[in-house]
Subunit: 490 residues, 2 copies
Amino acid sequence: MVSIPSLSQHPFDSFLSPKSVAVFGASTNPQKSGYKIIENLLNHHYSGRIYPINPRGGEILGFPVFRTITEILEPIDLAILFIPNSATIEVLQACIQKGVKAAIIEAAGFGEVEMGKPLVQEIRRITANFSKIRILGPNCTGITVVEKDGAGLFTSFIPMGSTKAGNIAIVSQSGFINGAYYPDFTERNPSMGIRYVIAIGNKMDLNELNILEYLVLDPTVTIIGLYLESFTDIRYFIDLCHRARTAGKSIILLRGGFSEVGSRATHSHTGALLERAELVHAVVQQSGCILADDFWEFFLLLRTMSHLQGFVFPQSPLTAAILTISGASGAVCADWCHHYNIQIPSWDPTSYAALKALNPPWMDPNPFCIVDYWPAVEEAKGDYHSLLMRIITLALQNPAIHGVFLTAYYNSKAWQVDWAQIAALMRQYQKPLFIWIFGTYTDLLFADRLFHDLRLPLFYSERELVQIFHKIYQNTGKSHPPVNNRNDSE
Amino acid sequence: MVSIPSLSQHPFDSFLSPKSVAVFGASTNPQKSGYKIIENLLNHHYSGRIYPINPRGGEILGFPVFRTITEILEPIDLAILFIPNSATIEVLQACIQKGVKAAIIEAAGFGEVEMGKPLVQEIRRITANFSKIRILGPNCTGITVVEKDGAGLFTSFIPMGSTKAGNIAIVSQSGFINGAYYPDFTERNPSMGIRYVIAIGNKMDLNELNILEYLVLDPTVTIIGLYLESFTDIRYFIDLCHRARTAGKSIILLRGGFSEVGSRATHSHTGALLERAELVHAVVQQSGCILADDFWEFFLLLRTMSHLQGFVFPQSPLTAAILTISGASGAVCADWCHHYNIQIPSWDPTSYAALKALNPPWMDPNPFCIVDYWPAVEEAKGDYHSLLMRIITLALQNPAIHGVFLTAYYNSKAWQVDWAQIAALMRQYQKPLFIWIFGTYTDLLFADRLFHDLRLPLFYSERELVQIFHKIYQNTGKSHPPVNNRNDSE
């Protein structure tokens, strides 16, 4: 078992907690990305010192621009290289001379293209195999560190929006998340708590294993999201995932390019070679990662795991109850439960009697834990809130039920529900309550944020409800192969 | 081959084009659903005559309330029964006496519950097996007919919002679509054109076959969406689907309750019995329907088919090009292409040279039709629009490529693109251009409507992009079994 250096001794520490940052390629032109990096550092209240560097000099947002790093008298912890690949050697040499310990290379055109391979050799030589300076990248949008709400370190040139501090760390072999996708999911859920987003780029030096080592020990992180196009060392990856899970952390993995067609994309992207799909699946199974279908599900899994923190999932075969205002939606949900081999038990006599009392006399409830509660809504004469509380409680308190799928009509005006009370119910019973709502689009946009703020897991289709429940459980409990794949048998 | 009566002779004609409507159970209380039906008829500018009926009399929104149907002197084409199931017999008898040809029963509690079965027998008797009056329902929110933008017939008590006239017909063995889900998808895409939404309920008399007969002949309908929990007659269903497809119509099917678990839900919902999953899959294959995963995909398929109307899909093995601003997103797309056996061909030398000229000198494009265009964006110095037009044209004009997946960064201010020109490109080449965009949430909400108005197929994840392309093609071209199911091999 490899021993991991302590956090303060770890090479990643200079990247995540630098006291000073030098930005090579800083620009005085507000339209240029070299300006936006300085703007991002400033706007996000980076607490260390900022040193823009450009041979032309000048001033950016009140900071004097240094012509070379040697002009700076104070020590530099982290260098951000926003310069063409051809200028990298010279700048790295200057950084080494200055005693900089960490550098982020944002440019592409290194090991992933033929012309860049000699450049990589030369960097290895001048850094004495990265012993003189550690490198993150190249082809890398760098690092986001959230210290507290709206404050931290943002090395990317992409406008990042405001950020909420939390315990999710994302490690990505792509600039996509620190780039365009980050504002999408944080603006959708402004209260989604992020700790780090780390683009590892083409892994010339530091890789996913180095940062995983750090995250295993880092007490501020409990949920880890990984986007990877290659595994640097499969055995060590599985080992680190086990350590992370033993430390109570969950890991979501999106693996790009594990098919032959996909590897044609990643080869030109990050120079990754094809790893057979079977190998990737074996790694997923042995590491206990939750495998995401795509970036959208990656985001949903991160959000859902953050809502369910501290919940303990059962080891027995998975069961659920379906509570639906639409018989049709309940049927589609049930078909997906069948697909993922999630059992729907029968009601115990006491609960069944309680449900019967909610229904009109001509309509008996379903003997299985599939409640079409529309007839009960009509009986409830407008008290939709109490009805929901009642049926959700009946399902959550049932020891035979591991989780609850609720599909509901959302109407903020006519059908008032105190969703905070429903969130409290879920936390009281410590069982997942997965919700799909429908109503007017405007109402739904509002509800999206409300539910996230209440940490109520919200989804957007029946398939999502059941598939994500299955994936989260499969990761934590005993796994079941799906019994009948819907898409395959079409 | 069964011969279908002409439209004006068809029993459904009285339901879809009634010149007068009587509403039993109309209420003078604006909080009650019996009031809202009248309100919906009025708000949506129903062009025929409206007759509220309630033994208490009074006035609703300016209409006098009749105590019985016999008080009405004019003929009645359609009766809406918003009354308890116990009052149904008496009202139907009065309708028959008055010569009403069509009735919608909104209440539940008939054949799907034990207590309701004698009621069904009695209705059969007094209607002489539905020869004296045709019945839609019970347990049925009725009919939406859009005559022109914002005007038509709305028999449901659910507030429906404004509606755009179009050529989509939805037939649903559930009130869900005419109820809560309709405002969701029409408010999301106000220009989504609907012709009919018909809830068939528990099919006491009229069923999906009767309405399909009508839709096969109806020239105003080109896209048919079906939500079914049971097939009334499988042979005739397949026959009608063939006739519809021969007439150039597409059919999207969502089949609720085809698993054992699912059938436990539908049995109590619409009294449907289990049909084996294998049978359902065989019906799908033989009918040429596109099978939706759930209601969300049902909506996306309807929207996409309406965007692609008139496109002719190839019969040869399916191919596509991936154009992506994120290497990662491209890799995930490519993995899904592999999953669905969609081939990514190599570029021809001329196109490849054209792509090479867009890239920086140190970065050669991928030899396969997977374009990571981020390096070209940097070279394009801000002219994002021309770059997109150029690469999309290269892909669409390539005879080896059947469709194009585009993932793009959307920034309405800094990255201006004339998406109308891109929509025109797609129509010029008559090949699907499937788009996934990311950016700030606010921007994306705006883009959602813009893209729909331009009839550009927009999706929300890589899986959706590829899966829906596959489903639409599978329906129209030669089908391929997926080669490797991602979920199964986890």
